[in-house]
């Protein structure tokens, strides 16, 4: 075993390797790999008349996935996720840039003010929006009092409201990797660019954005993918009018009780995720810069 035996090394590393890596391996096997394989199997199963899963092969769940109603919802999901991602970049990039490059002593405070909402439960925050935007909510009270509108406007249950909630939930996931990437940016490069006569807009597109591309890519991935599955945002703010793939899956498991169909829908989400991660890696994205 031990070819390069120094006197401290044990004769075998098997025991320590098992003790340290064993628990993680067991965890990944039983709580990550097995459940996902099981979902894949279930997506080919049938249900009996009591909605119990019957382990008999069928491809019908997948043929149900291409119904017109569902196709509309996939389109809507992709559109909402895409708009959310674009808005997160448009708002998050300049914001991250300003707080990452500020020379103010309050920089750390600015950073903390991003972390605090991020660490506050997303459901509570979405419920705060509902309180604010509802027809008897505070925004309407304000608008009516100021005579801007005569009747309360119902801001809820619209696509725009769901997008607002999604942008709200995910903007920290965009800002934090961008902040890290922009903070690493060497200021002298920007000076060099402007000394050599580049206009600020040229510096932005030819120096700043290429150098912070890794942050943009990982931010996009961390916004777009989870956005497809955040069913409670569209439930609470969209009220069933802005269903996404996540809502379809949730319903199959919680009310419609057609687990095999829900499993097949989940397989779509997994495939979309794998595809996007592959693209991310092709673009030179580092897996370690994902996560929070």
């Amino acid at each position: 075993m031990a070819r390069k035996t120094t006197k401290h090394e044990f004769k075998s590393n098997t025991m320590p390797a098992i003790v340290t890596v064993g628990p993680v391996a067991i965890l990944l096997l039983f709580l990550v790999v097995a459940p996902l394989i099981f979902v894949a199997i279930m997506s080919f199963c049938q249900t009996d008349e009591f909605y119990n899963v019957v382990y008999k092969f069928t491809a019908s769940n997948y043929s149900k996935l291409i119904s017109a109603d569902y196709l509309k919802i996939y389109g809507q999901s992709l559109l909402i996720a895409l708009i959310t991602t674009v808005l997160c970049i448009l708002i998050g990039y300049p914001f991250a840039y300003i707080i990452a490059r500020t020379k103010s002593k309050k920089k750390q405070l600015f950073y903390m003010l991003v972390i605090i909402p991020f660490w506050t439960n997303s459901l509570i925050r979405i419920y705060g929006w509902r309180t604010f935007l509802g027809s008897s909510g505070w925004l309407n009270k304000l608008l009516v009092t100021l005579h801007i509108v005569g009747e309360p406007v119902d801001f809820l249950y619209k696509t725009g409201t769901t997008v607002l909630g999604m942008v709200y939930c995910f903007i920290p996931f965009m800002v934090l990797p961008l902040y890290t990437a922009i903070e690493k940016l060497d200021g002298s490069l920007l000076e060099a660019s402007s000394d050599l006569g580049a206009r600020p807009i040229k510096t932005l597109f030819e120096v700043i954005i290429p150098l912070t591309a890794s942050g943009i890519f990982s931010g996009c991935l961390m916004v777009f993918i989870p956005c497809l599955g955040y069913f409670f945002v569209s439930n609470i703010l969209g009220g069933g009018n802005t269903d996404m793939i996540g809502n379809l899956i949730e319903r199959q498991f919680k009310s419609a009780n057609n687990w095999p169909l829900g499993a097949a829908l989940s397989i779509i989400l997994i495939l979309v995720t794998l595809l996007l991660v592959k693209i991310y890696q092709k673009l030179g994205g580092d897996m370690d810069s994902l996560g929070v």
């Binding site: 401290h8 391996a25 459940p35 509802g134 370690d288 994902l290």
Partner: protein
Amino acid sequence: MKKARKEKRNKRISIAFCSAVYLFLFLPICVVVANSFNATTSKPYLSWKGFTFDWYIKLWSNSSLLGSFGNTIIIAIVSTILSTIIGTLGAVGIYRYKFKGKGIINGLLYIPVVIPEIVIGIALLTIFSNANIPRGMLTLILSHVSFSVPYVIFNVRARLSGYDKSIEEASMDLGANRVVTFFEITLPVLAPGIAGGALLAFTLSIDDVIISYFVNGQTKTYPLKVMESIKSGVSPDVNALSTLVLIGTIGLVFLTQSGVLSGKHKKI
């Protein structure tokens, strides 16, 4: 002169823009806090009826709300301890030893990070239900451990990449065995990474809505309790509790950022 004026204008635009973003980030939080002082007593508890501290007192007699919060805390503490132990051991083992399947384990660690939570949630639900594991506290804790462990490993690994192995050899030269060396040398060096990972595991557990929603059975956590009551109108004692949690969160953020627990943002 012209340049100075332009810079001043740019600065003003920057400040206005950032203020607007912060307003956006904090608006719903302020609404939740404000409504915790609302004297209204009728559903849906939206119209402002004056200022009161009543909800902070009533909160203590709402046993189902307090119970759900207790569940959240128990699950967070237990799953943080478990995932910190499993993750730290795993990070050290993966870093140090050569074994078959190392690449596979490394790849699998990214699954809970990138796959949408809803998929993880339903996948765990199907496996628990098929294995006849009754859904409740146990399944909640297991699920939370499963999505927290990768984050602990990433944090500890970041610390390991700058780690000088020779101090362990020195320890063993001086007669300490492997276990003593691990506890006396390796752990203290890795401590900031471990603390950062544990903190992340804790906040992930407390914040989790989606995965818990599928594996909870009859056990309610605090976010699930809120979700249940959203349609009918959340009574302001929930807002009062959220406000108290927010104060705790602010405390925790200040604690980490001031470097008491120097987390992932500071390397060796």
